[in-house]
């Protein structure tokens, strides 16, 4: 797996890398702060809140998947329990039983995550691989089933609270959504910096070593089990922070926070974004949240499209979005992008046709089967279609067939020019 630094040091000097990385971090801090000035509507704001939380959650997940090679199906446990603890604390603050600033509430979520990370992690990190995946699934399902019966989870209705309690500090009451957004942005930046710093510590390096070769890591004197345990506990902490932020954002925590679905979401985000890179989950979390929210408003078939994106990533781009970006970055800085553009342009057109055909097919079928009673008229991209006539079906089939044919051909061409470029890069690297 290509490392961030490897890719850059190919063409840039070490000092230049430093300054660039510094710039990236400045941008990473500035962008979230400036976004609310661009997107003012409450809807956009709440979507950005979701994105911020998703980024923390996905980054914490990637501490396991990407950095330690642990595939977890139960990350929701720490997120959800962190959320429940925070909402209980928020209620206690509201009732005057607890004196604690709302700004630091995610810390309670984090500590709760940490605690349960210690409890469950002790048992689950004894082994890696499939056994770890299965234990995490088991613990996840256990907590999900337990939350419906055990007291303290508020049953199906969940537990709600009011985040506007007390006087507030300097006029910050967390009543207006923009204040909540900045709270999330603050925690996002702090958590991201901490998680990045962790990857640079000996622990982070050992996690990589344990992922790649546990025997060798053990040989050098590190106990792989302990490395996995500590990583899981820390990752659970950040998942708990994300849970605490969600509790503040929605002012409600429900069983849904603990379900398998919540556990799979960061997996999707991380994998689509690229588990091999620190910023991969960031990209993935932003894209998946955007798709979920915006696509969900336009089409009922959004989970299907999500599934297609996910499976395409697994099949064709296992490095994820970040992987694609980094590969092209390398080409870009070598000044070879120009060679790729024509090949990509040729792929772009049939890819669009293929996409359009698929969308047309999916939407028409959806309309026919799940909305049969609403009549056969529908509109796609403002074009009226009648699914009872053969036109949309023939059109979709034709688009798919033609698109697929040319897509495969142009893909082959693109692969060829990509190979040429890789060869060129190799040549430059070893003159």
């Amino acid at each position: 797996m290509m490392n961030n630094t490897d890719a850059m040091s190919l063409t840039l000097g070490e000092s230049k890398v430093r300054s660039r990385r510094w710039l990236v971090w400045v941008a990473a801090i500035a962008v979230p702060l400036l976004l609310p000035l661009v997107f003012r509507s409450g809807y956009a704001l709440s979507m950005m809140c979701q994105m911020g939380i998703a980024v923390i959650f996905a980054l914490s997940y990637n501490m396991l998947l990407g950095q330690s090679g642990l595939l977890s199906f139960g990350h929701a446990v720490y997120y959800g329990l962190g959320g429940y603890a925070s909402i209980h604390a928020l209620n206690a603050i509201g009732a005057g039983k607890l004196d604690f600033p709302v700004t630091l509430l995610p810390l309670i979520g984090g500590v709760t995550g940490l605690f349960f990370g210690i409890v469950f992690g002790y048992a689950s990190t004894k082994r890696a691989g499939t056994v770890f995946a299965m234990i995490s699934l088991g613990i996840g399902e256990l907590m999900a089933a337990g939350s419906t019966v055990l007291p303290g989870f508020g049953g199906e209705a969940g537990i709600s609270a009011n985040r506007v309690t007390g006087k507030g500090l300097f006029g910050i009451t967390y009543g207006p959504p923009v204040q909540v957004y900045y709270l999330i942005a603050l925690w996002l930046v702090v958590s991201a910096i901490l998680m990045y710093a962790l990857t640079q510590t000996p622990l982070g390096r050992m996690a990589n070593a344990v992922r790649d070769n546990p025997e060798r890591a053990q040989f050098v004197g590190y106990n792989p089990q302990r490395v996995r345990f500590i990583t899981l506990v820390l990752s659970a902490f950040f998942a708990g922070v994300a849970g605490g932020l969600t509790a503040i954002n929605y002012e409600i925590v429900t069983q849904e926070y603990l379900t398998a679905h919540t556990s799979v979401t960061p997996l999707l985000m991380t994998f689509i974004g690229g588990a091999g890179y620190f910023f991969g989950p960031v990209l993935g979390a932003i894209l998946v949240t955007f798709l979920q929210v915006v696509l969900g408003a336009y089409t009922k078939a959004w989970p299907l499209y999500m599934g297609v994106v996910f499976i395409s990533t697994v099949l064709f781009a296992p490095q994820g979005l970040a992987g694609i970006v980094m590969q092209h970055r390398q080409v870009w800085s070598a000044g070879l992008m120009r060679r790729l553009v024509p090949a990509y342009a040729k792929v772009f057109v049939p890819a669009c046709a293929l996409l359009l055909g698929t969308i047309c097919l999916v939407e028409s079928t959806y309309h026919l089967t799940t909305e049969a009673q609403a009549g056969t008229q529908m509109s796609l991209f403002r074009i009226p279609l009648d699914v009872a006539t053969p036109a949309p079906w023939i059109g979709a089939a034709a688009l798919i067939a033609i698109g697929l044919y040319f897509f495969r051909r142009s893909c082959a061409a693109a692969a060829l020019s990509w190979e040429g470029i890789t060869a060129e890069l190799q040549r430059r690297k070893s003159p």
Partner: protein, 314 residues
């Protein structure tokens, strides 16, 4: 007594259905080392295919055709999907099956709608087999038992006694050797995957009309199937068989247990019970806890005996 016997019968038949479901998963895992997250999706597809076929030409042809179609689909999926991601490792394979599960879950309502479809028990089997005291035992349940046991015996015999079974087992441990002997190892894997999905399909054909054929049926059994495979010992058919029966019976009987911790302390004044939260915790009945039991068993098993009931040590 009547209650005990009926519950035992119910537990047995539920357990055997669970076995039907998990045998394919176990088979695939034992042979290929792949945990197929899409297994329950094939179960659901089996039910829907059977519904479609049986409404055209009847239940009995569907019983044969639907699993065959699914076996073929599974084999193709292995050939063109799983094999491509195989080089990226087990995690990629696992994620691929997760993706397939997500897709199937969306495609099924796309084709058959969100409502349950009318997939009914065949007329020939819609009668009472025998009556136990005043509880009748439906013939279809008997049929389920029969198919499940038949499946177990057949699988066992084929795997341990037949030539093809020996090749399959050898291909797992010594792929190069088997390849050198002139057997097409990738094709063996394709075959195994196909058989595994066909078994899931068969369970769907039989389970679909015994229960309800609807788009959420895969999600409903998805994780319980894993519990069986893990508790039985990943890759062990015998273990899966025992685990299915035990879990089926435990779950059936736990429904009947109306005891809670507070019953234990009934009569004696325990100071703890004045606390509201503790009191509600103590008043949860075992029957309410029933859905948690399988997962609890699974987690404990993984911690204390990770190889499962009958699994081999790593």
């Amino acid at each position: 007594m009547e209650f005990f016997l009926t519950s035992l019968l119910n537990g047995l038949s539920y357990g055997l259905l669970l076995f039907m479901l998990s045998s394919g998963l176990t088979l695939i895992f034992s042979m290929m080392g792949v945990l197929n997250f899409a297994h329950a999706s094939f179960y659901m597809l089996g039910a829907y295919f059977a519904y479609q076929i049986s409404s055209a030409i009847g239940f009995w042809p569907a019983l044969v055709i639907a699993p065959l179609v699914l076996g073929l689909a599974g084999a193709l999926l292995e050939r063109y999907g799983l094999r491509t991601v195989h080089k990226s490792g087990h995690v990629a394979e696992l994620l691929f099956t997760v993706g397939v599960a997500l897709l199937v879950e969306e495609i099924v309502p796309l084709i058959w709608g969100r409502m349950a479809v009318k997939y009914a028990i065949p007329r020939e089997l819609d009668f009472t087999l025998f009556s136990l005291f005043s509880t009748s035992f439906p013939a279809y349940r008997g049929f389920m038992l029969l198919v499940s046991v038949g499946m177990m015996v057949l699988l066992y015999v084929v795997l341990t006694r037949s030539r093809i079974g020996l090749i399959i087992q050898a291909a797992l441990t010594h792929p190069e050797m088997v390849g050198a002997l002139g057997h097409n190892v990738p094709r063996v894997f394709m075959l195994v995957f196909g058989v595994g999905t066909a078994l899931a399909g068969l369970a769907g054909v039989i389970g679909g009309n015994a229960f309800v054929t609807e788009p959420s049926m895969a999600a409903a059994v998805g994780s319980i199937v894993f519990v069986i495979a893990v508790v039985g010992g990943l890759g062990s058919l015998e273990g899966a068989f025992i685990a299915s029966l035990v879990l089926g019976i435990i779950q059936t009987f736990s429904v009947a247990l109306d005891y809670s911790l507070s019953d234990l302390f009934a009569g004696s004044e325990v100071a703890l019970l004045h606390d509201e939260a503790l009191r509600s915790l103590f008043s949860i009945r075992i029957s309410q806890m029933a859905p948690m039991i399988p997962y609890l068993v699974m987690v404990l098993m993984l911690i204390f005996r990770p190889q499962g009931l009958m699994g081999k040590r790593e």
